[in-house]
């Protein structure tokens, strides 16, 4: 009775209206439709579904129609809402609304305005589908759908080859992940005979560990694709080719966290596959460190935040991997706040600098864009884990859990936290402090952009107090008991953050020559990191190039044209060769034909006679 279908359908209607009629609509109408639909959806979630639900162990479940049925296998278009979903719904619709509002300002001067909002609305539709799904297949619909929208939005500036290439890369890499996810689904069907969450999770504890491990690992592949984990993270930095609101919404706040959501959703399976859990944690940790190191060297402001996103997602996976699902979700939420803010702020900065993204051409913007400066400071504090900010709580929860799991993970996490604080604040200093190094005169963004920033700034700072996710989710993911070292651990992580901030202050405000010197000193290592460890190039050389060259040279030209067609044509030419010999009999001389005929009939007569044909 809560009409759950309204939640995704409202943005979808927005998509249809803007997509089909958008070209002829005035901008105001487009804005109204785009923002209105998402806002309506948010309000429906927040005001109707949320409060009036009976939140017990039960969850809302709605079955709309059977989508695929074959034999005894049925998959329905089912939605379900529980607390986890509720949190995700709030994040997606809430932040989505803010970013939509922001985008009306940011995209004001861009072409394809209606198209942009149509895509955004479509994204909302799929994302909500993903979140609302009551079975894996519907989740997969959303999963692929958001990938589609990601592709469309990354390639929004389709005149730029780099943009469309990045879009392709995103989609294809995601496909690799989806492949894993799909395989996981197949195993689930084989094992459980259904894809609905309820029966699967009910039966999961009784299933063999090997199967569960396989399922979990395959899911991890899917999640790694979507959430940009090693080894499938490569698409995310490139995805920054899309407009900045897209980066904020899709590539920071919502879509990329779908992997975390899925793992949390499948917690039962993961919990019964400890080996898989370890792998999740390791991958998360590795990604966190790895991306952080790259983030330190980048100069493109969006790339910095992109690697930061990768790194933070690694944190979340660390949380999931060590069993702290609720901490992961918490960090997911806080990260949504501050990273969206960071991106939107970066967008505001880019807006201020007339599209410039290189931080070396910025500087001193605190004069020209004070509000932006303030909100970005808030976000930066949050991500650095400054005590009291939202990031502080969630990150601390994860690190604590990691310490319980394995202390060395904690220490790596702390170092990463320090690095995070360092590169985020490095970006902050480079952008707002010092002298303006760019061209033109920077300006502050309009109010329509700043307002959402402020809302997000408040959430970044206060989100930790406002939403205590582990508490909310304690039905699903039981709280861990307090451990004695907790306060000490908290202090260490805070200290790491502060050290990072201080170092960046020293290197980019006080002693500006130092970074160059260090870079020179490190030499090759620096260049390696600066080139993102040349992973893209390695992938190109190891996978893409051989595949294309091999397909072209070996499969197409050799196997297809050479061997198969060659064999077929060879049969033909052999037949012709035989014919060339046999045609000597075909001398054109009728008498010789007659001779052959007679000789042949003699043979036939003899054969028939011997075989008893003549009687």
């Amino acid at each position: 009775m809560f009409k759950l279908w309204l939640i995704p359908l409202l943005p979808f209607l927005g998509f249809l209206i803007n997509g089909i009629l958008g070209k002829k609509l005035p901008k105001l109408a487009i804005n109204a439709v785009a923002v209105g639909s998402v806002l309506a959806s948010f309000l429906w979630v927040a005001l109707v579904v949320g409060p009036s639900s009976d939140w017990g162990a039960n969850k809302l479940h709605a079955h709309y129609f059977t989508w695929i049925a074959s034999g005894n296998f049925h998959v329905g278009w089912d939605f379900a809402v529980d607390k986890l979903t509720m949190i995700m719904l709030m994040i997606v619709t809430g932040i989505g609304t803010l970013i939509h509002i922001y985008a009306t300002g940011y995209m004001d001067h861009e072409g394809g305005y209606y198209r942009f909002f149509a895509y955004l609305n479509l994204f909302m539709f799929f994302m909500l589908n993903l979140v609302l799904a009551a079975n894996y297949l519907i989740l997969f619909v959303g999963w692929e759908g958001v990938g589609l929208c990601s592709y469309l939005l990354i390639g929004f500036y389709f005149h730029k080859k780099s943009a469309t290439t990045a879009g392709n890369k995103a989609f294809i890499v995601n496909r690799v992940g989806d492949f894993g996810f799909a395989m996981a689904m197949f195993l689930i069907v084989i094992q459980f005979g259904s894809l609905d969450f309820t029966p699967v999770f009910t039966k999961a504890p009784g299933a063999p560990v090997e199967t569960l491990t396989a399922i979990a690992l395959l899911m991890l592949v899917g999640a790694a694709g979507k959430s940009a984990q090693i080894p499938l993270y490569v698409w995310l930095p490139d995805a920054m080719e899309g407009p900045t609101p897209v980066s904020a919404l899709i590539h920071a706040a919502t879509m990329v966290t779908a992997g975390v959501y899925m793992c949390s959703r499948s917690a039962v399976i993961f919990l019964h596959a400890p080996a898989a859990m370890d792998v999740v944690a390791l991958i998360g940790l590795a990604t966190a460190v790895f991306a952080a190191t790259i983030g330190i060297t980048q100069y493109d402001i969006k790339k910095v935040f992109a690697y930061s996103t990768v790194s933070q997602l690694g944190y979340m996976f660390l949380g999931v991997g060590v069993g702290a699902f609720s901490a992961g979700i918490w960090h997911l939420m806080t990260h949504a706040f501050f990273k969206a803010l960071l991106f939107l702020g970066a967008g505001s900065v880019i807006h201020a600098c007339h599209g410039e993204q290189d931080m070396r051409h910025m500087g001193g913007l605190k004069k020209y864009a004070p509000w932006t400066c303030i909100v970005l400071a808030c976000a930066s504090l949050a991500i650095a884990g400054f005590p009291g900010t939202s990031g502080f709580f969630s990150k601390d929860a994860i690190l604590t859990a990691a310490y319980e799991h394995a202390p060395w993970m904690f220490w790596v996490g702390v170092v990463t936290a320090g690095m995070t604080a360092f590169y985020v604040w490095r970006a902050f200093w480079m952008t707002f402090w010092g002298e303006y190094r760019g061209h033109g005169k920077p300006h502050e963004s309009p109010m329509v952009m700043l307002a959402p920033l402020m809302v997000l700034a408040v959430l970044s700072l206060g989100g930790g107090f406002l939403f205590n996710v582990p508490e909310i989710l304690k039905d699903m993911f039981p709280l861990k008991e307090e451990i004695p070292e907790e306060h000490m651990l908290m202090a260490i992580s805070v200290a790491a953050g502060l050290i990072g901030i201080a170092m960046s202050w020293y290197m980019y405000v006080v002693n500006q020559e130092l970074p160059g010197k260090i870079a020179n000193a490190l030499g090759g290592l620096y260049r390696l990191v600066d080139d993102k460890y040349r992973i893209d190039e390695a992938y190109d050389a190891a996978i893409v190039e051989p595949l294309i060259e091999g397909s072209s040279a070996v499969l197409w030209k050799t196997v297809d044209a050479g061997i198969i067609d060659g064999a077929v044509n060879g049969v033909g030419s052999q037949a012709r060769g035989i014919g060339n010999v046999l045609k000597l009999i075909q001398s054109g001389n009728i008498r010789s034909y007659a001779t052959w005929i007679v000789a042949g009939s003699v043979v036939i007569i003899i054969v028939m006679g011997i075989a008893g044909g003549v009687r």
């Binding site: 001389n589 000789a599 003699v602 006679g609 009687r615």
Partner: protein, 166 residues
């Protein structure tokens, strides 16, 4: 009487048949062939095939062979040239003929089932009435088909033989 007639006309048939092959001039061959056909017609008569015997005379001897002679005369064909190029016919021809004859002879000798005998007048099923009846009832379709065949042959012959109109 029958064996006598048979032997007589069989002898004529074989002799003239050999003559067909041996004669150098096509006219001689053609006339020998006419003789073969005539003697075969007699042999048909001996077997009670009156209608076919007459048809043999009218169609074969009276029409087809006249056509042959007509063409030979029209082309003023002379005796045969002796130069030939068919190596296959040269090498395999005679053995093939002997082989054919041998095979036929052998299998007729060994494999021939018990057959009856022919005496003039002991079967009268080959008259015009019987043949005609069968032709227009049971064998109507082949009959009609052959009529079409003849028509086609006529048209074809005219097309082939007419002088080029240009």
């Amino acid at each position: 009487m029958d064996p006598l007639f048979f032997l007589l006309f069989a002898f004529i048939a074989v002799a003239c048949g050999v003559n067909v092959v041996l004669q150098k001039h096509p006219i001689s061959s053609a006339l020998s062939l006419v003789a073969v056909m005539a003697s075969l017609a007699v042999l048909y008569l001996l077997q009670g095939a009156e209608f076919i015997a007459m048809a043999q005379m009218i169609v074969y001897a009276g029409a087809i062979m006249v056509l042959f002679i007509f063409v030979i005369m029209l082309l003023n064909a002379g005796p045969e040239e002796t130069k030939g190029r068919s190596w296959a016919a040269l090498i395999f021809g005679v053995p093939a003929i002997i082989g054919l004859m041998g095979a036929l002879a052998y299998f007729m000798q060994t494999g021939m089932p018990e057959l009856g005998s022919v005496k003039f007048g002991d079967w009268k099923g080959g008259g015009a009435y019987e043949v005609g009846y069968a032709l227009f009832t049971e064998y109507l379709l082949p009959f009609e088909v052959t009529s079409v065949l003849i028509l086609i042959a006529i048209v074809g012959a005219i097309v082939l033989a007419r002088k080029e109109i240009d």
